[in-house]
């Protein structure tokens, strides 16, 4: 077995301590890494060997849990999925854009969590039936209709990529609206009308200008941009039915 190649990695990490700081500032670390490592490995090495006060979130190290999202050289990335070999020179690591910084690389996800709840991201059965009547069945084609959108891991990279969310923080945003779309498309679900009260508002889908950045950065290939354009079309058809077709309001 050939030995792993070592490399001295320079990291520039944004630091913020809520107990002592009023501003965030960059701190430079130099740490010996294996060429095959990811940025998260480098941060772990820094924390273990150089600076135990460095704060960041991570859990699974395999792009599934969605907790290690950071801006790496200005790009929203899962740090467990950002390979050192893709970067040259100093690697700049910052907390996810558009979210308040709790401490160092840890951001406050409260706003996203609140918005996710508002779109009712769960199946609201069309007709409730007792368990004795069995499961709600679904064909493979019905599953495929929304499957892609159910891959979201709530990592919030799309919010960090979306300039409209940065400019208008009231925006419900890509992931939450995509979840609404995912359940709207589910053959077992009857909750679309309830979700439209949030989706079809200005803060809902109509703040989106189709920048498309959300889909480009999504580590789970969910395509929120596509979901939002589809929501615009269905919301527009709703509007026509409600306002222009006699008796359509009911």
């Amino acid at each position: 077995m050939t030995p792993l190649k070592e490399r001295l990695v320079q990291l520039e990490v944004l630091r913020y301590n809520p107990d002592t700081d009023t501003e965030a500032h960059f701190q430079r670390y130099e740490v010996m890494c294996q060429e095959e490592w990811v940025v998260l490995d480098a941060l772990n090495k820094v924390k273990a060997d150089i600076d135990p006060t460095l704060n960041y979130r991570w859990s699974c190290h395999m792009a599934v849990c969605g907790s290690c999202g950071m801006m790496i050289n200005g790009e929203p990335k899962l740090s467990c999925h950002a390979f050192l070999r893709s970067y040259e020179g100093v690697i700049r690591v910052e907390p996810l854009a558009h979210f308040p910084i709790e401490r160092d690389l840890v951001t406050a996800p409260d706003d996203f969590m609140e918005k996710l709840k508002r779109v009712k991201p769960y199946v609201i059965p069309k007709e409730k039936k007792p368990i004795s009547e069995g499961e709600y069945k679904q064909t493979p084609a019905q599953l495929m209709k929304f499957r892609q959108y159910s891959m979201c891991i709530n990592c919030m990279l799309c919010y960090a990529a979306c300039p409209e969310y940065g400019l208008e923080p009231e925006f419900i945003g890509p992931a939450a609206l995509t979840m609404a779309h995912r359940y709207n498309l589910d053959s077992r679900d009857g909750g679309r009308k309830e979700r439209q009260e949030v989706v079809a508002t200005h803060e809902g889908v109509w703040t989106c200008t189709f920048v498309g950045a959300c889909s480009e950065v999504c580590p789970a290939h969910v395509d929120p941009a596509g979901a939002l354009q589809q929501l615009k079309i269905t919301s527009s058809i709703d509007w026509i039915v409600e306002h222009l077709i006699p008796g359509g309001k009911s």
Partner: protein, 113 residues
């Protein structure tokens, strides 16, 4: 939170965006050829006038001009916001009114032909 009336402006924007994509490049190409001295036969007065005088011709010309104007106005409104201009209501009013005036003018000119 009330449901938005944005579909009123968005639907014609989407229709106009499609019209621009399909029609405007080739129309610009035709006038650019004219400008460079290769006047296509169809752009002579007789044929253009005959086309604009027909009912179908009027409909096509009006549809292309009105929807393209609206789509451009709506996109420009969003662009102004993106550039940091926060007076959205004013910007929207000015641009939408301009698009409507342009469309009405086209209709009047077409009816005179």
């Amino acid at each position: 939170m009330a449901k938005s009336h944005k579909p009123v402006v968005w639907f014609p924007f989407a229709a106009g965006g499609t019209v621009i994509a399909f029609f405007i490049p080739v129309i610009v190409l035709l006038t650019l050829m004219t400008a460079l001295g290769h006047v296509p036969a169809g752009l002579g007065y007789e044929r253009m006038h005959a086309f604009a005088a027909s009912g179908l011709g009027k409909l096509i010309i009006f549809g292309v001009v009105a929807l393209s104007l609206w789509s451009s106005a709506h996109r420009l409104r969003c662009t102004c916001f993106d550039f940091g201009l926060r007076a959205d209501t004013l910007v929207a009013t000015v641009l939408y009114v301009a698009a409507i005036v342009g469309s009405l003018a086209s209709a009047i000119f077409l009816l005179r032909i």
